[in-house]
Symmetry: C2
Subunit: 199 residues, 2 copies
DNA sequence: AATAACAATTAGCTTAAGTTAATTTCTAAT
DNA sequence: ATTAGAAATTAACTTAAGCTAATTGTTATT
């Protein structure tokens, strides 16, 4: 069950964690031995509406899209790319998921579960400190995104996106981007035209 | 320095914490002895734009409004009422605050700071478990609010607010509500009229 | 009770987003 | 290379939000 992808990706995780806390070589090994890294081909549905999320995800490579289906239409609510964690609401609340998670590209993910996380924390208690820090950062980031969304017009939101996550525009279809911005694909087309007209 | 308000409010805190973890009588005393409960009169600014937040807040009674000033206009971005925690972005990032926090009513708040929290956690390590749980709940709640905001029209957002936080409409001026919903007070007026017309 | 300050509504006009439908462009599969 | 299907754009029309300004309603203060 040896997996080249996993071996390379382990180093990304170690590096990521090391930005928060210092790991001894032994602790690094504990993490490496977890072997919870999995590649998913494009279009894999990680979580479907109605399902109970039993895992949380850390994107090592690729892109995951979060979307709701409302009146039969897909409404994208978030994109997760390299080094972003996904904690499904369903994972926290233990209720059926309101939304889908699906891979927009071939994606490599580190999987977490309550049981495994607790086990890991028992072995490396420092990890809990990291968790608290990460939670606080995510909370801050969420708030900033919400504030931007509320205070900016659709056009400003689009401009903002081209600045804060320019990569997304190249790796994700525009109709996904549109609903992510809270508008229709037609509106996004017009906005892009308007912007290109005025240079 | 004995304070009646604080004595009563302490019980709320104990009760709130007990929903997450079990406290021994000794631990309850430790928390009570913190004495970090303060009343603030209406219109007190807890945090101003540009300031560094050194405290986080837990609202025991009253209402705190978060707002940005954009082009000289106040844009409300959140309301915090009983049993809600406020962790300013500035508190997490150590950067100057982008927004204000101010009391809409006379408000009683439990104050937290990194130093005091760490001290407390040293004495009651269980508290860290609670923190992680709370963070996870807040994260879920934030996501749900963001999704609602993105996927609902202004009118639907207003209707949704009347269902999820009906108290707010009675305790907060409508012009605050309007910007909180991401619209102008004029638009909110029209929406309310539209709704009352159609019963 | 009168007044000042602020909150909320109303009106008219402008602008842009939603909706429906058609057309063009792009992509992937045979 | 051709074609089918999807994505993106365009257009025409409808609807509602933003903006400016005026008016009415409410609250607090003297």
């Amino acid at each position: 069950m040896y997996n080249t992808t996993a071996v390379v990706m382990d180093d990304f995780i170690i590096k990521y964690i090391s930005a928060y806390i210092e790991l001894t070589p032994e602790e690094e090994d504990i993490i490496r031995n977890q072997n919870l890294i999995k590649p998913f081909p494009k279009d894999t549905v990680l979580l479907a509406e109605g399902e109970h999320a039993r895992e949380c995800y850390f994107v090592l490579k690729g892109c995951v899209r979060r979307y709701h289906i409302i009146n039969g239409e897909e409404r994208t609510t978030d994109f997760y790319t390299e080094n972003q964690s996904i904690i499904p609401v369903s994972y926290s609340t233990k209720k059926p998921s309101e939304y889908f998670l699906s891979c927009v590209e071939d994606t490599v993910i580190a999987l977490g579960s309550n049981e495994r996380n607790e086990e890991l924390i028992k072995q490396i208690p420092k990890l809990e400190t990291m968790l608290v820090q990460m939670a606080s950062e995510m909370q801050a980031q969420n708030q900033i995104e919400m504030d931007n969304f509320k205070n900016l017009s659709p056009e400003e939101r689009y401009r903002n996106l081209t600045e804060t996550r320019p990569d997304l525009l190249n790796r994700v279809p525009l109709n996904y981007i549109a609903t992510y911005l809270g508008i229709t694909p037609e509106s996004l087309s017009r906005i892009r035209k308007r912007i290109s007209r005025n240079r």
